[in-house]
Symmetry: C2
Subunit: 316 residues, 2 copies
């Protein structure tokens, strides 16, 4: 089967129910309609075998993970994801693998009404690059660089579970239910698209937590020409991290792959945000405050201020 | 140096002079403004080491080739290229390589006023996925599926030189000037963006010739539910293909990587097209006609009709 037949068989069948796709897979490019008053957001992420996932994983899970990582970039900007392109590099033709991968794409894109509109298929070492396109009302994209001293820092959910899953990939000391819960967190992170309206209304800056809270908050601070102080006990640590890690807070600070959001809100907006979130039944956690002084600091249980490492995962 | 510093050093410096880039590299996504009355075209292409290029090539040439291949997809749709994202996977950090690659990006994007607006950088086997975004007046994108029986088939320039360059990569029997000319065709194809207004005005269908004229015309015919008959002597064969290949026409028919365009024009528009092209000093070559009968046929010098193979390069 050549790559054109592969695309027809496994990817053209991923349907879309979007009127704004004038045409998708099957031409030299997809054609899309942008409504007036909206701006286009574009982001791409590559997942490489043995770096971002294990080739032994179910292709269904690999597809889900790849989609969710990309959707999370839209969530970080408070944008609605709309259209995806997929560039897939495969070492060999494997119909079962492609069938599982295609099903994972379908199941992970459908709840978000995201259409697969194009892509490329090449032979080579297993990897994939997804480019996600989203829309936001003009001027409403939330960036990394808008935080001001005094702004409150929030995270959108429990941290550390995905990193714990990675740490325990080859270890057997784990209760089966715990392993299943951790792998779910690693393989099927939930992009926080549900926070879009609250970020658009209240946030001064936002980033998704892919490299670890300390590393990603540091990126946000650098872009904002500011620093931050975190109340260490306020960090929402996943219960299994507390169960299995002595240094649970430090682990949660450094652990990547959670794809929760870290965002900042001007102090005078904090109450309105919390009221709006409570009405929606969504929990976010205030963990600290933006400061003028560069760098990251932590306040421990005794009230002492300690400097925090800002190092996250680096490829090079 | 981590990937964030790499991006700052080698890619953030690629400037753009586009008002429609609200913000580019440095956030979780780029933010772009689409003018009213325009539609967005999106296409991505992956280039894998040892498949699409040799790792020994100058990184400058690799970058140029990657850009041109992507721009060609916009030319095939009659769209103006605007914004690019780059996902680069590198086996190791190599400052010289990145400097050359970055320079190649800069030099190949600038003449087309295309902005590098985002990307990703990961460690792994050398490959890159570029996603190009372009604009076209609403309804003016030229697709593969619009050709009708009776339409005239054109190609936009000489064919076969890039494939000859590939065939001769490891052979020494080539005059140095010829080798340089062929490598120029392979490494620095010129995307036919200059044909945009003529395609928008006159073309019923178009495709870029990446897999070879016969394979790509076949794609166009399949999308158009039609077939084609080509006058074999009318195919514009590159002079060096005639010099080095006995079966020059067959070679030019099968040879990929030229990135000229193949397009169709209703018969009653042919004269207007040729007049407009002549005024602009652009040569395109009528090579045949779309027919209702599926498949590709060639008319040889004696007037005999022979079936043509439609097979092009396939990864699988």
């Amino acid at each position: 089967m050549n790559e054109f037949a592969l695309i027809d068989t496994f990817f053209k069948c991923i349907p879309h129910d979007r009127d704004d796709v004038i045409f998708g897979v099957g031409d030299d490019a997809a054609c899309l309609e942008i409504p007036q008053g909206m701006q286009l957001l574009v982001s791409c992420d590559t997942l490489v075998a043995d770096i971002h996932f294990l080739p032994s994983w179910d292709a269904y899970d690999i597809a889900c993970k790849a989609v969710m990582v990309n959707l999370s970039d839209m969530a970080a900007m408070a944008a609605s994801p709309c259209w995806l392109t997929l560039a897939l590099t495969l070492p060999e033709f494997n119909a079962d693998w492609l069938q599982r991968f295609s099903q994972g794409l379908y199941d992970s894109l459908r709840p978000y009404h995201v259409a697969l509109v194009g892509g490329d298929m090449t032979r080579g070492p297993l990897s994939m690059t997804l480019t996600i396109h989203g829309l936001v009302p003009s001027g409403k994209a939330v960036r990394r660089g808008g935080a001001k001293p005094g702004d409150r820092i929030f995270v959108s959910g429990d941290l550390g579970a995905a990193a714990l899953a990675v740490a325990f990939l080859n270890q057997q000391e784990l209760d089966g239910n715990d392993r299943a819960e951790l792998m779910q967190k690693l393989l099927h992170p939930k992009p926080r698209i549900d926070l879009n309206p609250y970020l658009q209304a209240f946030a001064s800056a936002a980033i998704d937590i892919s490299d670890g809270l300390s590393a990603d908050l540091h990126h946000l601070c650098l872009s904002s020409n500011a620093g931050a102080c975190i109340t260490l006990d306020a960090i929402p640590v996943h219960p299994l991290v507390k169960k299995y890690q002595h240094e649970a807070i430090a682990f949660a600070l450094r652990g990547g792959d959670d794809y929760e959001l870290c965002f900042t809100v001007p102090a005078q907006q904090e109450k309105k945000l919390l009221t709006a979130l409570a009405l929606a039944g969504i929990s976010c956690y205030p963990i600290g405050v933006i400061e003028a002084e560069p760098g990251l600091r932590g306040k421990d249980a005794s009230g002492a201020i300690v400097p925090l490492s800002t190092q996250g995962y680096s490829h090079f």
